[in-house]
Structures are given as structure tokens and as C-alpha cells.
Amino acid sequence: MAQIATVADASVAAVRRPKKSMWPSAAALILTTVVFAGVLAFPWLNPGYRALSFAVTTGITAIVLYGMAIPFGQAGVMSLGYAGLMGFGAYTAAILSRDFGLNMWEAMPISALVAALAAGLFGLPSLRISGHHFAITTYVMCELLRIALTNGGKFTGAASGLDLPPIGTVLGVKLDKLSNTYMLVAAFMFISMLAAYCIANSGYGRTLRSIRENEQLARSLGVNTNLHKVGAFMLSGLFAGVGGDLQAYNFRHISPDLYGGATSLYFALMVMLGGPRTIFGPLAGAIIVTFLPEVMRIDPVDSRIAYGLALIAVVMLLPGGVITAVGRGYQRVARTLRGRDAIDGSPDPGASWT
């Protein structure tokens, strides 16, 4: 499958392009502005409480997905452990609040750090095993965490979980009001997006891609592939930790079931559906998977079946994710409209990272 994807990628990109600059193209900037404006305008469209709270969850999920896109999209290592990592962040926040009275902001760096360390631990098996085998290992780790949390007694609140205080007020803004929570989450989501973009376009991002493309060749050039694989996981763990901290304070009650393997599978579906190597892929994936059953009024059991089918369909039909597919469709239309030659150097609307 991976090879088919590569060949398909290549045939589109075979047109010689001028030297690619670090700065995004005009179309990418316009698209970014549209997304930015759309996200910020959403609460003013009177979406209603339910949709707005879904949007907050979507934003928090997207933060985790942007982290996940670093090892998966850039280094090419797929992990199903992200719900668990988010759980490390969330439980750290809840325990720090209960035992030390820390608020969301004070707990955030610690949550991020704890999740990053856990991510390093989750990533260790990737040095020995790869592909599906590694993905399954991380899924199992997630389930183990869920069992540990359920049996953690008073420390983790066992099956009923832990409660958290409200986020509170910053500079006179009551962040617990849902529309304000939304803006807070949107801000963190955009920061994650920017961070992931910068990482992908840095020398470090290139190093990770060299691991994805050819580990043996990368090693011969002096790339410590093991270190960078675990490093990429730890970096993505920071995102998951921040997401967990925000989620804990958004829900104000967390329980082990939120952080099991099933949630991780949804995350994987979102990232793959959206496209892990595109700027807007993780956000698009989170939105589609969260809102589609709502909009189409599919009942929860049916939607699970639909997700399973969707995952298979994405892997088979859209290996680069929907954003990449939309980008290709756009290019094809542009080519027909402007004639074949005009496509040279035209901006990629999917604003691919690589």
C-alpha cells in the first residue's frame, strides 16, 4: 500500500517545480486565512450549545492530532497510543489539582512533560518492531493504562474517575463560559498547527522524513534513527499532554474510559482521513469524524460501523487523506481550465508539508 501511495504521489509531483521556499504560497495563505476566520467566526453563527461543545472537543482532539502527525506523517511511524498519552496529561492535571491545588495553567507544562515521557516509553518498542506490530503494541499499552487507571484506587479515582475545578478567570475573561473555552482551545489548536508546520519545514523535519523514506540510508549519513524516533514521539507527547490538560478542565470530570484503545483508533482514523502530511489534515479529520454523525444523524452503533468502513476506504482509496485528495482534484481542474503547461509551479492548495 505504501508503495502504491508513493508512486501516485510521484506521478503528480513529477512536473518539475521551481525551488520550494520555506514560505507558504499565496493560495496556502488564503486558505489559512479562510480556515482561521472560519474557526474564529463559528461561535457567532449561533451553533447552539451542543454543536459548540462538540467544536471544543474537536479542537482539543486536533491539538493531539497535530502532535501525532509528527511521528506518523514525518517519521512514518504509526502509533495507536495517543488517547493514553492524553490520559497521562489529563490525570496529571487532575491529580495536581486535587493534591497540590494547581490550576490548569500551572499544571499544563507538567502534564505536557509527563505525557512526553510516557510517549518516549510508548515509542521504545518502535526501535525493535515496526508497522502494524508496533501499532498493536501501542494499542495494548493504551488498554493497560486504562486498566491501571480503573484499578488505581483513590489515587486515580478508580472507574468513576476524578473531578476538576473550573478553569477560572484570566484577565477578567471567564474561560468557563463555553464560547470563551472555545476561543481558548482554538488558540491552542492554532499554536499546535503552527508548531507542527514549523517542525515539518525545519531541518529536523527533513531528518524525520529521511527516516520515513529510507532508514538504512539515513543511518549511513549519520542520522541516529533510534534517538529521533523516540524524540519525535516525545515531541508529539507534549501536544497530547497539553490536550489532556485542556480536556480535563473542559469536561471537569475524567474517567479511564476516555483514554482506552478505542479512542486511539478514532484518533488514527481522524489523522489518516484528514492526511497527516498536510497543514489542515488533522483539523479536517477531527471535524469530519466528530461532526459527520451529528450532521447526518447516524446512531452511535451505526456510526461505529461506518467508521470502520471509512478507515478501510481511506487506507485503500485516499492514502494521502482527504486534504491531499481535494488538492489533487483542484490541480486536475486547474489543469483542464488553464491547459496542461500552466500547472508548473502552481501552489498546492493542500499545502503539503513535504
Binding site: D9, R17, N224
Partner: protein, 241 residues
């Protein structure tokens, strides 16, 4: 000048003896060829030197430092570059990004050995791939892919380059270009050690030849001498005629 000193190098895979105690000294001021029938241990020699395999026994010294059994990435960082038998690249990336990755890692080295490249373009021009900078490597013709392999290895700023059959699959014209490219790389101070089956090419390019047979070194010396050695003719050259 850099020196790679291999002594008593032995590598076995289960019961199979791939290298049965090989002694070779490679100086970076020479162009050395390694020939031998299939299965004689040529690639195993490179892979063991470069840290892909851990030697069963024996020593490998690179500028006096013992590198036997060290991980591949550390050996790459010490200025020992290599290419692979299968033409390798980072397939989904552009030609430019391929060499950029190599240069970025090569330039992190602290020693002064090996050629310095100010930009990916400079290196691509050196190997004659500047026109393909924006192309994705998975759609490149095979000859260019071979040349890109050499470019990526050179980007890593090697003092000594080990090339594993770089001319395999190339046509006559491409082979000539490759010989020319390797000569120019050698003029930049890169030691060249090359495995190939094309005896004509080896005779033209190399000053010295080493012949392996069933994991043993059976000849080592100036090209003319080695190619006229009755033992070499019997096990290798004779078999082809």
C-alpha cells in the same frame, strides 16, 4: 589522509562463513577496487565495516579508532560514507531534498575531512543532476538514481567512500560518466573503494585491486598484477570467459 585498517575480519551467519578473516588496508589517497564472484563476501565486508553487521571477530580501525561493532550512524559521522547495492534514495522526496539531508548531516561533523558543499545546488551541479533538483526521486530513470546515490553519499562529506556496485545496471555511457564522476570526487580528496563486476571499468578506474573468494582475500595489489594472477583467473575471470 585517512586510513581504514581491517585485520582478521570474520563474519559468520549461523554456519555460513561470509568473511573468513580478511586483512585489507585502505588509504584515502587511492582508488581501490574489490572484486570476486557472487557470494565471496564483498558486500558483507562493506556492511560489516559500516556497522550494519557486527563482526564475529577481528578489528576495524578508522584513522586509528576502533569502529568494529559501532552503530552505522556513528560510523557515518566519522566520515566513512557508503552507497548501497540497490540504488537507494529517499523516494518520495525531491532530488534537492535528498542531497540537502545529506549535506545537513555531513556539515555537522567537526573534523575537516571530505569535501564541503555550500548548497545542495553546488553538489547537484558536481554530479550533473542540477536539472532534476525539483524532481521526486521515485520517478527518476535508473542511471540518475545511481548518480543520486553517489551524490547523497558525497553530501555526507566522506573522507572515504565505499561504493557497492555503483555501475550495476548502467549502460556503457552511464558507466563512463560514473568513472569520470568518481575520479573527480577522488580529486576532492575522497578515498574511493569500489565493488563492481565490470572488470573493464575496474581496470580503468582503480590503481589497486583486492580479490575475495569464499570470504578469503586471494589477491591484493596493482591492477595489472592481480588481473594476471593465475589464481584470480581461475576463480573469477576464467569463469566468465
Amino acid at each position: 589522509m585517512a586510513t581504514l585498517e581491517i585485520k582478521g575480519l570474520r563474519k559468520t551467519f549461523g554456519g555460513v562463513v561470509a568473511l573468513a578473516g580478511v586483512d585489507v588496508t585502505i588509504q584515502s589517497d587511492e582508488i581501490l577496487g574489490v572484486i570476486g564472484p557472487n557470494g565471496s563476501g564483498k558486500t558483507t565486508l562493506f556492511n560489516t565495516v559500516c556497522g550494519v553487521y557486527r563482526p564475529t571477530s577481528g578489528t576495524i580501525r578508522w584513522n586509528g579508532v576502533d569502529i568494529a561493532g559501532k552503530p552505522a550512524y556513528l560510523i557515518g559521522r566519522l566520515g566513512l560514507g557508503r552507497t548501497f547495492q540497490q540504488a537507494m534514495s529517499f523516494p518520495a522526496l525531491t532530488v534537492r531534498e535528498n542531497v540537502q539531508i545529506a549535506i545537513e548531516h555531513g556539515s555537522r561533523r567537526e573534523d575537516d575531512a571530505g569535501p564541503r558543499w555550500s548548497s545542495p545546488e553546488e553538489l547537484l551541479e558536481f554530479v550533473g543532476l542540477e536539472a532534476f533538483a525539483g524532481e521526486v526521486t521515485s520517478v527518476m530513470p535508473f542511471g540518475n538514481l545511481r548518480r543520486l546515490g553517489v551524490a547523497v553519499a558525497l553530501g555526507g562529506r566522506p573522507a572515504q567512500l565505499l561504493l557497492d556496485e555503483p555501475a550495476a545496471g548502467l549502460n556503457e555511457g552511464e558507466s563512463v560518466q560514473l568513472v569520470h564522476l568518481l575520479r573527480r570526487a577522488h580529486e576532492l580528496g575522497v578515498g574511493i573503494c569500489i565493488i563492481d563486476h565490470h572488470v573493464g571499468l575496474m581496470a580503468e578506474l582503480c590503481a589497486r585491486l583486492v580479490v575475495l573468494h569464499f570470504g578469503n582475500k586471494i589477491a591484493d595489489g596493482p591492477v595489472d598484477e592481480v588481473l594476471n594472477d593465475p589464481k584470480v583467473i581461475e576463480v573469477y575471470l576464467g569463469g566468465e570467459e
